[in-house]
C-alpha cells in the first residue's frame, strides 16, 4: 500500500458505468437477450406461415407478432438485474460502494431500459428477416414511413422496455428472480385470461388496468378498434395502454425503492 490512489467520489455517472459493467459482465443477461430475440423471430416466423393474401395480417403485424414470447424475456432481464443483485449476494458489495442506495436502482433502470431496447430492436430485425418470405408471398409491404407501422414498431420496443422495468421494480421489491417471473406472468397474462372468461363492465375495466394493456402499443388500428368496440370498459387506444403499463412499471419501481431505502440489505 505505498501508492495512495487519487481521491475520487461517488457520482451518478460512475454508478451508471458500474451497472453497465455488471450487466454486460454476466452471461445470463446476454443469453436472455439473445433468447428473447430468437424466440420473437421464431414465433413471428411460425405465424407467418399461415399468412395469406387478402384480409389477413398486415406486414408490420407479422413483424411484431413475437412480442407475446418476447415479453417473458424482457421480464426475466429486469428480474435478473433487480433481484439477482440480492439473491446472488452481490448486494453487499454494491451497497457498501453506494450506501445511498437509490442511485443504484435509478442506474439499473437506465441500463435495463437500454438493454431491453436493444434486445427489442434486435428482435424486430430478426423477425423482419424471418418473415421476409411470407411477406413477399402474400404481397405485404413493410412501409416504415406509414405512421401506423412506425407506431407499432416503436410500440414493440416501448412495450418490452416497460415490461423489463416492471421486472426490475418487482425484482427490487421481491429480491428473488423466480418470484418476479411468477408474479410478472400472473400480472401480465394469467389474471387477464381469467377475467376474459367473464366479460362485463367490471372485468373489462379491470383488464384495461392490467399491465398487459401495454401490448396495445403494437396492435394495428383495426385490431384496436375491434378491441375497444367489444370492451365495456374504458377505451384506451394504443397510447392509453402504454400509459397503463408505464404506471405499473413506475409503481413497481417505487415500491422496490421503498423497500430498498427503508429496509436492510440482507439475504
Amino acid at each position: 500500500m505505498t501508492t495512495r490512489t487519487p481521491a475520487t467520489r461517488v457520482s451518478f455517472a460512475g454508478v451508471l458505468a458500474a451497472e453497465w459493467t455488471k450487466l454486460v459482465g454476466l452471461r445470463s443477461t446476454l443469453w436472455v437477450a439473445l433468447g428473447t430475440a430468437l424466440a420473437a423471430a421464431s414465433l413471428a416466423y411460425g405465424l407467418s406461415l399461415f399468412a395469406g393474401r387478402g384480409d389477413g395480417p398486415t406486414g408490420v403485424s407479422l413483424v411484431v407478432a413475437g412480442s407475446v414470447l418476447a415479453q417473458t424475456g424482457a421480464l426475466a432481464l429486469g428480474a435478473l438485474v433487480g433481484a439477482g443483485e440480492h439473491s446472488s449476494g452481490a448486494a453487499t458489495a454494491t451497497f457498501t460502494a453506494v450506501p445511498r442506495r437509490l442511485p443504484v436502482l435509478a442506474a439499473q433502470a437506465v441500463v435495463t431500459g437500454a438493454g431491453a431496447g436493444v434486445t427489442a430492436a434486435a428482435a424486430l430485425a430478426a423477425s423482419a428477416l424471418a418473415t421476409t418470405d411470407a411477406r413477399t408471398r402474400a404481397g405485404l409491404v413493410l412501409e416504415l414511413a406509414d405512421p401506423e407501422t412506425a407506431r407499432m414498431l416503436a410500440g414493440f420496443v416501448l412495450h418490452l422496455v416497460g415490461v423489463a422495468l416492471l421486472g426490475l421494480g418487482l425484482g427490487a421489491l421481491l429480491r428473488r428472480p423466480g418470484a418476479v417471473i411468477v408474479a410478472g406472468v400472473i400480472l401480465l397474462v394469467v389474471v387477464d385470461q381469467l377475467l376474459a372468461t367473464n366479460p362485463g363492465q367490471v372485468t373489462d375495466t379491470l383488464r384495461a388496468a392490467l399491465p398487459g394493456a401495454g401490448a396495445r402499443l403494437l396492435l394495428d388500428d383495426a385490431a384496436l378498434a375491434a378491441l375497444d368496440a367489444a370492451s365495456r370498459g374504458p377505451r384506451l387506444g394504443a397510447w392509453g395502454g402504454g400509459l397503463v403499463l408505464a404506471g405499473w412499471a413506475v409503481g413497481a419501481l417505487a415500491a422496490g425503492a421503498g423497500r430498498l431505502c427503508r429496509g436492510d440489505v440482507t439475504r
Binding site: 500500500m1 481521491a7 467520489r9 459493467t21 455488471k22 459482465g25 443483485e85 449476494g89 451497497f95
Partner: protein, 253 residues
C-alpha cells in the same frame, strides 16, 4: 476511526446486538471476538449501512457511513466471500465497484496482483475455492485504499501462506495509521496480530482491552481468557458423541 455507541439491532424477537459501545482507533488492529451468533457480523453490517440499527449510532471518522462522499476511500469492507455474483469474474466485479467512485482500472489490476488473484481474475467467481473467494473479498476491501478496514473472518479458508500474508497486511495497514477492525475465531492468530480486543456475547460487550492486559488478567493464553470471559454467553454448544446426556437408554438399564 470507528465509533459504535449504544447500538441495538432486533430481528423480530431476537436481539442480535444489545446496546453495544466500543471504539476502534487509528493505528490499531482491533480484534472483534465472540461466540457464534454473538452479533459480530451484524454489528459490522450496521457500521457500513447495510442494516439499519434499531437504536444507537455507528460512525466512521465521525460521520455516518451513508453520509460519506467516497465510502470506498474511507472504509474497505470484507463481509463474506459470497458478496459477489457467481456469474461475474473477479475483474468485472472489482471494476464495477471501482467505477462507482471513478477509481482507475489500474487500481483494479493492482489489488488483483496484491491478493495473488491474477491467474483466476478472468474466471467466473462461482468457480472459486473458499480461499480464492476470500482473497477477492480482501481485494475489494483494499480497492479504495481506505483509511479504515472492516474484515469479517478474513483468514477463514486461507492456506497457511495466506494467513501469514493477512497477518502482515493488517499489521502494515495499522502501522500506516489506518484503523483495522477484524473479527476472527482464531485466538492464536489474533494474539499475533491484534493490539486490542473487543469481546462480545449475545450482543453485549464482555471485554474491551489491550491484548496483553486481557492475557495478564487471566494468567494464561488469549484463548483461555476468551473462554473464561464468554463462558456464560455461548449460545450454540456442540456435544461429544459419547456425552452421557445422549445415552439415556444406557441410563435406564
Amino acid at each position: 476511526m470507528i465509533e459504535v455507541e449504544a447500538l441495538v439491532k432486533r430481528y423480530g424477537s431476537t436481539t442480535a446486538v444489545d446496546g453495544l459501545t466500543f471504539t476502534a482507533r487509528p493505528g490499531t488492529v482491533t480484534g472483534f471476538l465472540g461466540p457464534d451468533g454473538a452479533g459480530k457480523s451484524t454489528t459490522m453490517r450496521m457500521i457500513v449501512g447495510l442494516e439499519r440499527p434499531t437504536a444507537g449510532t455507528a460512525t466512521v471518522d465521525g460521520r455516518r457511513y451513508a453520509e460519506l462522499d467516497a465510502p470506498l476511500h474511507s472504509v474497505g469492507v470484507m463481509l463474506d466471500a459470497r458478496s459477489v455474483h457467481p456469474g461475474r469474474t473477479a475483474f468485472r466485479h472489482l471494476l464495477a465497484q471501482a467505477r462507482t467512485h471513478g477509481i482507475p482500472r489500474s487500481r483494479v489490476d493492482e489489488v488483483i496482483a496484491m491478493t495473488g488473484l491474477e491467474p483466476v481474475a478472468h474466471r467466473r467467481a462461482g468457480t472459486y475455492s473458499l480461499g480464492m473467494g476470500q482473497r477477492l473479498g480482501i481485494a475489494g476491501a483494499l480497492l479504495g485504499d481506505p483509511g479504515t478496514l472492516i474484515l469479517d473472518e478474513p483468514v477463514n479458508g486461507l492456506d497457511p501462506d495466506g494467513v501469514l500474508w493477512v497477518r502482515r497486511l493488517v499489521r502494515d495497514l495499522a502501522a500506516e495509521g489506518r484503523t483495522v477492525l477484524l473479527s476472527s475465531h482464531l485466538m492464536h492468530e489474533l494474539a499475533l496480530c491484534a493490539d486490542r480486543v473487543v469481546i462480545i456475547g449475545r450482543g453485549r460487550l464482555l471485554a474491551d482491552a489491550p491484548v496483553h492486559e486481557i492475557v495478564e488478567r487471566s494468567g494464561g493464553t488469549l484463548e483461555e481468557a476468551y473462554l473464561q470471559l464468554t463462558a456464560g454467553a455461548v449460545q450454540y454448544r456442540g456435544r461429544a458423541t459419547t456425552s452421557p446426556t445422549t445415552t439415556t437408554a444406557g441410563d435406564a438399564r
